[in-house]
Symmetry: C2
Subunit: 367 residues, 2 copies
Amino acid sequence: MRSITVDLGERSYPILIGSGLLQGIGERCREAGLPLRSPLLVVSDSEVAPRYLGVVEASLRGQGYTVASHVIPSGEASKSLAVYEEVITTAIQAGLDRSSAVLALGGGVVGDLAGYVAATYMRGIGFVQIPTTILAHDSSVGGKVAVNHPLAKNMIGAFYQPSMVLYDLDTLRTLPPREVSSGLAEVVKHGLILDKEFAYWCREHASELLALDAEALGYALERGCAIKARVVGTDERENGLRAILNLGHTIGHAIEAVGGYGVFLHGEAISIGMAGSALLAAKLGRDHSIYEDTVSMLSALSLPVRLPAAYSEDELMEAMMHDKKFKEGKMTFIVPDSIGAVSIVNDVQQSDVREVIAQLKKEGSPW
Amino acid sequence: MRSITVDLGERSYPILIGSGLLQGIGERCREAGLPLRSPLLVVSDSEVAPRYLGVVEASLRGQGYTVASHVIPSGEASKSLAVYEEVITTAIQAGLDRSSAVLALGGGVVGDLAGYVAATYMRGIGFVQIPTTILAHDSSVGGKVAVNHPLAKNMIGAFYQPSMVLYDLDTLRTLPPREVSSGLAEVVKHGLILDKEFAYWCREHASELLALDAEALGYALERGCAIKARVVGTDERENGLRAILNLGHTIGHAIEAVGGYGVFLHGEAISIGMAGSALLAAKLGRDHSIYEDTVSMLSALSLPVRLPAAYSEDELMEAMMHDKKFKEGKMTFIVPDSIGAVSIVNDVQQSDVREVIAQLKKEGSPW
């Protein structure tokens, strides 16, 4: 088993990565000090629950816990205030008290929603992340929890750290190939922002990663989580450095908003966004090889790097102006300086962003 | 002008109490470092907005701020997730960004709702409390923000500290007499839990307080806020000591839930709850004079100390079992040991609570 610590003083917590962790979750909760008399709530979704909810509940009940569960429909549409309120209702009816915990069993949607429930139920109760996708290696670490508003993604949320993250590699075996690639987009992103060697390692080992080779995947998740943990440990509430984690996300979120959630998977949209950031870098005077290397890494992981012609530039620009990263009305982008190093650029011209979008659309099919 | 500091390390903030503060709020926001380029949102209610919103907006605009406002219907029913979502929508449409702030202009409902918006909009933005009721001297200090769930009050919320509290005594002049007494219930509560001298001072100066004498009221609010600030500074997230602020609230919340919000005002319900806590104290062996003195203090402030016969014991008990203070299924009460000193008692018998409720109902009309 691999173990990483997210270092946040009294809010520090471990990330455990390995096989067979689901079966031991009851024991981990005991060790973490969750009291037996307070009910636990497992939140999962309609894809994940049939496979793994039973194992998790059995493990918790085997240790003597009272367990309730709430299964949400799979997909981004469940990250709404309406579904949030339903989960809160389940929590009240199950008798969760201030010593209880919410366990998020699923991908990013489940983690974000369940985390926001944990952050706000009775002003904050315990929270355990049990990610079941590769993508969630990113969202489950760092304490960003949220639901969407019809006008903008992740607009309603909190910074709320889990007390632990349990990453059972066995749950990744059933992921469809597009989900695997989507998750690897955030893995390679961690290399692109801070770890040149790891970024090239991902390109070199792309076929093993796509084949879910346990050794390669365990290593990639450990290294990706470690980079994320380092950034979050330095800047928990995104006052500075943490913004670099948003590489590719401004364009990516706009693609998701305009295309409708689910047309591109999150990692796919971010992949196109990272290709766009590399184009922006060239426009701002950085070496054009950054774009070529970025695209070759993303393509090796079967990720899209171009935008379908149907996407409207006006709609994408409009969606970006709603993006919360535009502090005080300026357009801010994370721009690569080289592979493994980025800058936060606060005064990006809208015209440059428009040109980047046009370029992303020029070059044919997304993949 | 009187000034108190809530000491919470890097989250410390000042409480300013005085006359004519509304007119200077724009300047205070500049001094506090709120940037002019980020829009501000003033949340107020249908009672307060017609009187004071114009002054506040003019003061802010006079300093160069862009100001949006959202006026909610007056009353507890506005502390809902539905109204919360409407305020969030206004904030998005007004273009609030991560450097913006929400200003709560009103009583406890406005402060709790607007504070929860500030706590969760883009994972937390600036927050300024401008209480316009006596009751809000309590809710505006200490960072508890929340909305209600249909099944239980304040079930959804956060700990989120304001960056300042501006208490303009002029806004209290228009309060109806029942609202004045309701607010004074929380003032005298601060004496009852930690400051014997102040509790008896409130009884002695009850007529000046009820007449809104500026000197007496300014002193009482300063001392009440100072006690609250001291408790919150010791235990921000209610892991221990802070629970003593809930004197009278377990029964009080149940009265509000069963009777419907608005039958009794919050301070009135808490007053009956404090009388109940004093009865419970006698039942647990404390001196019966605690009850007599408590009731004489509350009565001097024109507060109710008895429960109408129509209230069902079963319904009150059921409502209390939903109360978030019952950690791990036990019934916890704040019980006076003497005037000015209380204990947190974790193993109160349900049968004793039932008897207290019956006693509260035995003695005739509430006032």
